[in-house]
């Protein structure tokens, strides 16, 4: 009970206007609450209609919602209390009473209507998916995609296999854009002052107003980062007509650092492309290039890294060094990781470029520095230094200098023009825009897909300046914080609904074509600009075609068709600019000064980025890389900082910075540097952001100021009363430290201080994770099965840790199930499906999980359900921390149903709902399941998922379009799990059977395998000795998890090999 009743919106506004300097609570975990007594008081004395009217009014207040959530905790989100009295709830009551009457078993199906086409489209075969190429435009470069379309409904987004940059791979964000398309909260109308209006009206109003200005004076566009050449061309046309109109690009998470550094170093804005397949030594300076497309070129970088990290005899392995603040998957894939405060990273980078050890470094850091310098120099130019986009400009300048001095430029690094056709210093432009707004120069502020009210640095006073603008227009996918207070809101079309083009990381122009008619007649930025031009009715298609003529060579009609078919335009990749950069640019950036107080590092969230995916349930629920947080962000800090601040995990902590405060839950992450707190952006959204985004986490933008967008110092943090139960999908490391590990009989002194992760310790004790160093594997290639190497404490847990077959005489039923039966007519040995996962290649990026969501109609269940441990993802990435939690190693292990040949789950199911197929799949028959959950208990891998409540959304119309028609939508009370994408297997079997042939190796690709950017997952027929999966399984490093249980899993793992620097060993 922190505050009494009040209208939350007004309070917040009043607080935002309060003078700086006075601490103002902006965001709270538990804001205003109402008590039941107050509700009674409000309704007291009201009867009849007045009562209901009051109730209605009351129901609108946020405080009432708070109360309802408190009294009925699962009101928000998908949960057990949802709409108990609604129509749906009533039907369910009816259904349940029928069920109780025992009728459900023999009820009849209702009549089902068929709606045939009037004229069936050509090429359409109902039930056969079609595939179209397009691209997902992202600020760091477009991601080329191939859309699976079922009767012209996009049902899956995957990488475009023919694209030279992505080679068919994709990432979590791109996969999740599918749900973004079908988001039921998308804005569906053009709004003018909150009333439904039309595009025509806006177009006319805009064009008329523009014509009245002198050359566009006062017309300002505020756009997200532009990657579309056509949009840039269109803007040129606009400028020709209205030379005074201005275009400002702004993203809260931008590339200003590299822009500034490249301008200083090269004289012009420059992007860097890295060829990691050429690099022996890689240094990442706070660059999370394995984390996702937030880092430019994630797909080729991850593929290149994994290619060189894959262990094959005789092939040199790369070595990765990472210097970073927030522990990322990149950091934990690294052989050597150094956790430094953000300010220290610049110092470290400059020192490295200058060849002198950094000032004031600890002995450990000195050692790291020395070894790293030597390793880079010794690589003979086959090395690369990658600066992170969220690192300061000095780091970029140092990286430019290093790459030049190490001789990497031209070999592993090339510098090109920018993907953004109109690169700018976004922060400077935003500042000048706000100045113009304050000065009253801005007549029309047209915002293209941005949400500055939410994301602009608070100290700019954007909100106040906004009030000064007579006409504000927002083109947005949601009526979000900005859209709600703009004069005009234009509903934006999704990229899967619109025409455009965009450049990918390598510069290749990629055509964006619509997959579906705009569901809500949305408009794109092309339409907005076109409204000012001579021919305002010209469609985005016309615009793109007109501009495409400038870059499609040869016969346009043919070239255009090919570009649409392939999804990209040949010969449009960037060519390298000549030369590198010297050290001179380094001088232009001051080294961040020594800091006082805590540093705060602002990071885009690994799951929802800058907040743009906040309403995408798949991503909100996705356990975040490294932290395994779901539906939350946290003040992330090291174990020492946690102790210094006298905090426990899940305690609310008040962070004060420049007179503003946020209250965030504290969380410890192993390997985080001391004295700094990392906060992730994009959370703490209001009701405008949608049903999923609303009320998740805290808003870190509230303490982010313009001059310190990346990190800041001088913060204080203090525990505040209360507790906040963080939603984390695995054990809390802080709670499960190595008290048991201390008592390990075999390594009695390994964990003297009890700072090992118990889970991580056990993972190795139990041979779940097996790996070796390069030296060890050379000595003993069979290390995964013979003890001795690091992380392979095998021969300890049980009796047959290698998973070898039980000797014939020792088995109760030795000849029972034969998976190598021969077809008597063809003598062909049957298929037996299996999977191999290369732990060396897995980078923990989560792309597979989101792909699985889309492919298998997995429901989103909401925070409360995830928190108690009911997450529905069929596939998870297990993260284990090894060793001292101050500076641990980490291991990622994708874990899904292992399809055990002697599956414990099958044996205990009383109704035979889970059985084995002749081809060795462990099949779950949903419609037979009665839900005893015994199978889950008896599954040692805990990969079974149960519909504890009605998780699948049967009501939201837009989501029905999204579902994969080949996979059942599971109702409540039913167990489910990874099926090895059995629908794809069956599809392949039918196709092959029709053509009277065998299934080819590689013909069946599981959804996770398809998405994996590093090819870590191999699937196929293990009876075909020539298949990739059989070869992977034949490797010595291949092992079964929990092999000693003799469940004989069909999924096996290839033990990792790391290549540490002997000097740092």
């Amino acid at each position: 009970m922190m505050k009494t009743t009040g209208n939350g919106t007004e309070d917040t506004m009043a607080e935002m206007k309060a003078p700086a300097g006075q601490p103002v609570v902006v965001t709270q975990i538990a804001p205003a609450k109402m008590t039941l007594a107050e509700v009674h008081a409000k309704l007291d004395g009201k009867t009849g209609r007045r009562f209901w009217k009051n109730l209605d009014e009351l129901a609108e207040t946020p405080a009432f919602h708070e109360l309802m959530e408190e009294e009925f905790p699962r009101q928000a989100g998908a949960g057990e209390w949802v709409d108990a009295v609604s129509r749906r709830g009533f039907l369910k009551v009816m259904g349940a009473s029928l069920a109780l009457a025992g009728l459900a078993g023999c009820t009849k199906q209702p009549d089902e209507p068929i709606f045939p086409y009037i004229k069936q489209p050509e090429d359409l075969i109902l039930g056969k998916a079609m595939y179209f190429a397009t691209a997902y435009p992202f600020p760091t470069g477009a991601i080329p995609v191939l859309i699976k379309s079922d009767s012209f409904r996009p049902i899956k987004v995957d990488g475009n296999p023919e694209h030279p940059m992505s080679k068919g791979k994709s990432d979590a964000f791109t996969q999740a854009t599918l749900l973004d398309l079908y988001d039921p909260d998308r804005s569906q109308h053009v709004l003018h002052r909150g009333q439904v209006s039309s595009w025509g009206e806006f177009q006319q109003a805009f064009a008329t107003a523009a014509k009245k200005t002198s050359g566009g004076q006062g017309i300002y566009f505020l756009s997200e980062t532009i990657t579309s050449p056509s949009l840039a061309a269109q803007w040129k046309q606009v400028q020709a007509v209205y030379p005074q109109a201005k275009l400002v690009q702004w993203e809260p998470v931008n590339q200003d650092s590299s822009r500034a550094a490249s301008k200083a170093a090269f004289g012009s804005y420059t992007d860097a492309q890295y060829k990691l397949e050429e690099a022996d030594v890689i240094l990442s300076l706070d660059a999370d290039f394995l984390g996702g497309i937030g880092h430019p070129g994630f797909l080729p970088l991850a593929a290149g890294y994994a290619e060189r990290h894959r262990y094959e005899e005789g092939k040199p392995m790369n070595r990765l060094y990472v210097v970073e603040t927030m522990p990322t998957v990149t950091g934990f894939k690294a052989e050597h990781r150094l956790g430094l405060k953000p300010s220290e990273i610049a110092t470290f980078a400059l020192a490295l470029a200058n060849g002198a050890a950094p000032q004031g470094a600890t002995a450990e850091q000195q050692k790291f520095f020395a070894a790293l310098s030597a390793d880079l120099k010794n690589s003979g130019g086959k090395c690369v230094v990658i600066p992170g986009e969220q690192a300061s400009p000095a780091v970029h300048a140092a990286a430019y200098a290093l790459n030049s001095s190490l001789g990497a430029v031209g070999k592993t690094v090339i510098y090109t023009e920018t993907v953004n056709p109109m690169p700018t210093d976004q922060l400077a432009e935003l500042k000048s825009l706000v100045a113009d707004m304050k000065a009253g120069k801005v007549q029309w502020l047209v915002m293209l897909g941005v949400n500055p009210i939410y994301s602009a640095p608070w100290d700019l006073g954007f909100r106040d300046a906004f009030e000064n603008v007579p006409v504000t227009v927002q083109l947005g996918a949601h009526v979000d914080e900005t859209g709600a207070i703009s004069n005009w809101h234009i509903n934006k079309s999704h990229y899967l609904e619109s025409w455009s083009d965009a450049r990918a990381y390598d510069g290749t122009i990629t055509i964006i074509q619509p997959m579906i008619d705009p569901m809500y007649q949305g408009r794109s930025a092309h339409d907005m600009l076109q409204a000012l031009l001579a021919d305002p009715q010209q469609s985005a298609y016309d615009v793109v075609v007109a501009n495409a003529k400038t870059y499609i060579k040869g016969d346009f009609a043919t070239g255009w068709r090919k570009a649409l078919h392939d999804g990209w335009v040949e010969g449009t990749a960037f060519t390298a600019k000549a030369g590198g950069a010297g050290k001179s640019a380094m001088a232009s950036f001051p080294t961040p000064s020594g800091t006082n107080g805590l540093e705060i590092s602002f990071r885009p969230d690994p799951s929802i980025y800058d907040g743009r995916f906040a309403n995408v349930g798949w991503l909100q629920e996705l356990p975040k890389q490294v932290t395994s947080l779901s539906w939350d962000n946290a003040a992330i800090m090291s174990i020492n900082t946690l102790a210094d601040l006298k905090l426990d995990e899940s305690d609310p902590v008040k962070i004060t910075l420049n007179g503003r405060e946020v209250i965030a839950p504290a969380m410890m992450i192993p390997g985080h540097p001391d004295g700094v707190i990392t906060v992730h952006l994009g959370f703490g959204r209001g009701v405008e952001a949608g049903r999923v985004a609303q009320g998740v986490g805290f808003d870190a933008y509230q303490i982010r100021i313009a001059d310190e967008l990346l990190f800041t110092s001088g913060a204080t943090a203090k525990k505040v009363p209360g507790t906040y139960d963080l939603c984390i999908t695995k054990v809390h490391n802080i709670e499960h430290r190595g008290s048991f590990a201390q008592h390990d009989l075999e390594k009695p002194l390994s964990d003297k201080d009890g700072v090992y992760s118990l889970a991580g310790h056990e993972a190795e004790e139990r041979s779940i994770i097996r790996y070796a160093t390069l030296d060890e594997v050379k000595k003993n290639p069979n290390f995964a099965h013979e003890g001795g190497a690091s992380g392979t404490l095998i021969d300890k847990v049980g009796y047959s840790p290698q998973g070898e077959k039980v000797p014939h005489d020792n088995s109760f039923f030795p000849d029972n199930w034969n998976y190598e039966k021969q077809d008597p007519s063809t003598l062909k040995i049957q298929n037996a499906w299996g999977m191999a996962i290369d732990l060396n290649s897995c980078i923990g990026c989560n792309a597979c999980i989101v792909s699985c969501y889309a492919e298998n109609n997995i429901p989103v269940i909401g925070r409360e359900q995830v928190k108690v441990g009911r997450i529905m993802q069929w596939l998870r990435i297990d993260t284990y921390f090894e060793g001292d939690l101050h500076a641990p190693k980490a291991h990622f292990q994708p874990m899904a149903c292992q399809h055990c040949e002697n599956a414990g789950c099958e044996q205990v199911c009383p109704v035979g709902a889970t059985v084995h197929t002749p081809e060795g799949l462990n099949t779950m028959v949903y419609n037979r399941c009665v839900g005893t959950r015994y199978c889950s208990n008896n599954c040692p891998y805990k990969v079974r998922r149960f519909n504890f409540l009605l998780y699948s959304d049967y009501d939201t119309e837009s989501l029905k379009f999204m579902r994969n028609p080949d996979v059942s939508v599971r109702s409540r009370g039913v167990m489910e799990k990874c099926s090895y994408c059995v629908q794809r297997i069956e599809q392949a079997k039918i196709t092959a059977d029709k053509e009277n042939r065998e299934i080819r190796d590689g013909e069946i690709v599981t959804a996770c395998q398809q998405a994996c950017p590093t090819n870590a997952i191999t699937f196929g027929n293990i009876n075909d000795k020539a298949s990739k999966v059989a070869k992977a399984k034949a490797e010595e490093r291949d092992y079964q998890v929990l092999a000693d249980l003799n469940f004989r899993p069909r999924t096996t793992y290839t033990a990792g090999v790391i290549n540490p620097n002997p000097e740092l060993a």
Binding site: V925, E986, N996
Partner: protein, 289 residues
Amino acid sequence: MAQVFDRSSNALARFSLVLTGVIVIALGVTLDQLQRSPWVTRQGQRPDQPIPFSHKHHVEGLGLQCQYCHTQVEKAAYAGIPPTKTCINCHAQIWTNAELLEPVRQSWATGASIQWIRVHDLPDYVYFNHEIHVNKGIGCASCHGRVDQMPLMYQQNTLQMEWCLNCHRNPAVNLRPTSEIYNMAWAGPSGDKPVWCTSTGVGAAGSGPTAQNVSCTTTNPSGKGPEVAMLQLNTELNGPTSSDVPPMGITMPASYQKFTNQMDLGRYLTTQYHIRNPEQLSSCETCHR
């Protein structure tokens, strides 16, 4: 102290015991029969359709091929219902004013679908694939019955799991040459009407579609040149099938095998068409995902 119960109560008590037993048994039998009854399965029911479309008239009367309307039966998982366009193809010329056809014209004019009621309706958790059945030698009539003799469409079979399993456990009973798929009157080979089949060699190496794997004929190939039947062919009832498009590049093989009963033919086709074994066909994942 006298009798509590009347003399008759002994008989009554025993009778009610027997009756209870009978009721329990009767209830069991009733429930068992109920789950198989047309009330549950909808066998033989003719739902009210917007247009009383007669397959009998169009197929038997006019001789339309199945595939004229159901174009994707061989190509897709769903058999498919023809679009309004298909109706209009003819009915733009004939019966243009028939009152019965008003919904068709309405649909054509307004662009709204004709709302049929689904006759063959499987539960949503059953993933039945139409194309593979047609391509592997299951004739239309095996599942749908004599559609050509149905004035109004109804469901011939129960479509229950046990019915599916009957065939999946022993496909040979229902297999026929792919040339006879659309032959509504196909009765299988008999002593009077034998069938001659031969392998065309196309599918022998595991290549080439099932439809071209085997060539069958109902006339003695030793008498005259065999008439090789193709998948999308003849609808002439009861008559011998003939080929109007001979398969490309197939040389006529020499040896024909004569079949005089369905089981022999079924077993031959099972091998030739590479029908999966019963273990695989009755495995859960074949139909449920």
